[in-house]
């Protein structure tokens, strides 16, 4: 049996285990370990198991993961999302569709704290859906804006998606965070334009909101000041060279905790629960990362990525066409696989091809993370849609999927723009840090 046939057999076993609902990490561990044992020997597989488990669990770069997760969990527990929403509401709630746009802005702000799409959709959904219902918003627009707004969590830095990509691709987390800023703002703007257009075409979707007095506006904006300060200090600190991403995450987490205690919205029990939740989430993420590092040597030994690269080169397509094909694969896979799972499963196969074609890995990272975001709201397994359903039980699932459709189109347009103009992603990392 050739190395390639063993590789293909391994991938088929992996798919079989995934279909059987075996946890993704367990399936990758089993196939990676077994594959290396067959293609090399038992000793190579056991030594890989020991070294990858300890090396990744003690990686200095990955310390950022539990800290940003902690920051998001504490921010959620202390009601920071409410304050962000209130500030956006005070500014633009009066405009037709303004509450939905305020939700998007609130999600964008919360994304800059948490790095998690699910956390963004869940916390902002709890805050904004009841308000939109109270002002007679169309439930599809309301639910769609929360589900789509939540996806900003993995594009706007700090983003867990970028951290995972950075580790898998061995790229700089700081450069990827910088690369996500302008695309994140662009996508947020596209979402607001989508809401405005929808309300312009069908004014019945969203009535105008109540007027907020100047005093009310000032009060809401002041309420959001501590959160805005945390965002500016942590993210600005990374870009300004004050902190490394790890330090920024620790400073941000500490500030959010301090704010929670000072405002009386957090007690020791709440902090303990948020910390414990963060440890569990970290374990989930890290086990998959370790498992992915077990799979990589197996795939490399089986020569599958090289064969795929040779096949794509043989098609004699321009490199941008190959990139478009790969993104198309991600869009299709995103309909069926959870984003993070899709990333760790596909990167060992696609990434060597991207490097061989001379495509900028930072740009590719932004494009891939955006396609992962689209998967979060794509039927049938769009997780953000289910999150919104959990906080809006009265809205039918089908209605939420219809509600997110215009936002999905906006994301596709954004993807096209980022594809056509790589500088939107690359200008900040290249000017502030320098060429990769």
């Amino acid at each position: 049996m050739s190395d390639m046939s063993i590789g293909v057999t391994g991938l088929m076993i992996l798919v079989g285990l995934l279909v059987l609902r075996v946890p993704v990490a367990f399936a990758m561990f089993a196939v990676g370990f077994g594959g290396v044992a067959v293609l090399r020997n038992w000793d190579a597989a056991t030594s890989l198991l020991a070294s990858e488990s300890f090396t990744l669990a003690s990686s200095s770069e990955l310390v950022v993961i539990p800290l940003f997760i902690l920051m998001g969990n504490v921010a959620s527990a202390t009601g920071m999302s409410r304050r962000l929403y209130d500030a956006a509401y005070a500014l633009i709630g009066r405009v037709r569709g303004g509450l939905a746009s305020a939700t998007i802005i609130g999600c964008g702000g919360f994304a800059a704290l948490s790095g998690s799409s699910v956390a963004s959709a869940l916390t902002m959904g709890k805050v904004s859906l009841s308000e939109m219902e109270r002002f007679d918003y169309d439930p599809r627009l309301a639910a769609g804006s929360v589900a789509a707004g939540g996806t900003l969590g993995i594009l706007i830095p700090p983003s867990t998606g970028f951290v995972i990509y950075a580790i898998l691709a061995q790229e700089s987390i700081g450069r990827l965070f910088l690369a996500g800023v302008l695309p994140g703002i662009l996508l947020l703007t596209m979402f607001i334009v989508t809401i405005t257009l929808m309300c312009w075409v069908r004014p019945g979707l969203a009535p105008t909101g109540p007027r907020t007095t100047l005093k009310g506006k000032v009060h809401s904006l002041l309420g959001a000041l501590p959160i805005t300060s945390v965002i500016v200090l942590t993210i600005g600190g990374i870009y300004g060279g004050l902190f490394s991403p790890v330090e920024a995450a620790a400073v941000g987490a500490a500030l959010v905790i301090l704010f929670g205690f000072v405002s009386g919205n957090l007690d020791i029990a709440g902090l303990w629960q948020a910390s414990k939740d963060s440890v569990v989430t970290t374990a989930t993420v890290m086990l998959i990362l370790i498992a992915a590092h077990m799979m990589n040597p197996f795939l490399a030994l089986s020569h599958i990525p090289q064969a795929l690269g040779a096949f794509l080169s043989g098609l004699a397509l321009p490199s941008l066409a190959v990139l478009a094909l790969i993104l198309l694969c991600y869009l299709v896979l995103g309909c069926f696989l959870e984003g993070f799972t899709m990333l760790v499963l596909s990167m060992p196969i696609f990434f060597p091809v991207i490097l061989a074609l001379g495509i900028d890995p930072i740009w590719f990272g932004v494009l891939v993370v955006l396609t992962l975001e689209m998967g979060l709201i794509s039927p049938p397994v769009g997780i953000n849609v289910f999150i919104v359903k959990s906080v809006a039980p009265n809205v039918r699932l089908g209605e939420i999927f219809v509600g997110v459709l215009p936002f999905w189109v906006a994301m596709l347009l954004t993807l096209a723009l980022l594809f056509a103009f790589p500088s939107i992603s690359l200008i900040l990392p290249n000017t502030m840090i320098g060429g990769g």
Binding site: R21, V22, V24, A25, T46, V280, T281
Partner: protein, 169 residues
């Protein structure tokens, strides 16, 4: 007998999660002290050593609780179309496979720890012995393997996973 063993698994899981949570809080404090100290020209010596080794505690300390809360990601797209016996069989397979993986991690990391001790391997700045943290990792992996074995045993002998989403206090 099985219930008593599972109770022990739950207690050990809670202990591991407690240590992991303390590790996370320690990470925040150590890095913060380092950042603040740096601006007073007195950075905390070995902050990176402590935070990276604490990461081992955080990651593997939470592993058993993650398993107990069904926190590991899986693809449940085909679940509604699977007959009951296949769902049951795949649950048993996942638990046994997971137990084998964590026993494997514990065993190989223990061997690696013995090597680290022999070679006196330590962190770069304050010379924390790596073997300590490898032993901790192996211990947490054993707790997780124990929990997964209990899950498999419950499924095989009682027909359910024995999980209620609660862990021992």
């Amino acid at each position: 007998m099985l219930a008593r063993l599972d109770q022990w698994a739950a207690r050990l899981t809670s202990l591991a999660a407690l240590i992991g949570t303390l590790g996370l809080i320690a990470q925040v404090i150590v890095i913060l002290a380092d950042v603040i100290g740096r601006y007073f020209h007195a950075p905390l010596r070995g902050a990176q050593d402590i935070s990276t080794m604490a990461m081992v505690i955080v990651v593997f300390g939470g592993m058993a609780l993650c398993e107990r809360l069904d926190g590991h990601l899986s693809v449940d797209l085909f679940e509604p179309h699977m007959p009951r016996w296949l769902r049951y069989a795949s649950d048993v397979l996942a638990a046994l496979l997971g137990a084998a993986i964590f026993f494997g991690i514990a065993w190989t990391v223990l061997e690696s720890a013995a090597l680290s001790r022999m070679l006196n391997l330590s962190t770069n700045i304050i010379r924390l012995p790596k073997a300590w943290f490898q032993y901790a990792l192996a211990g947490f992996a054993l707790v997780t393997a124990f929990g997964l074995s209990m899950r498999a045993a419950f499924l095989l002998f009682k027909g359910h996973s024995g999980r209620t989403g609660e862990v021992a206090k």
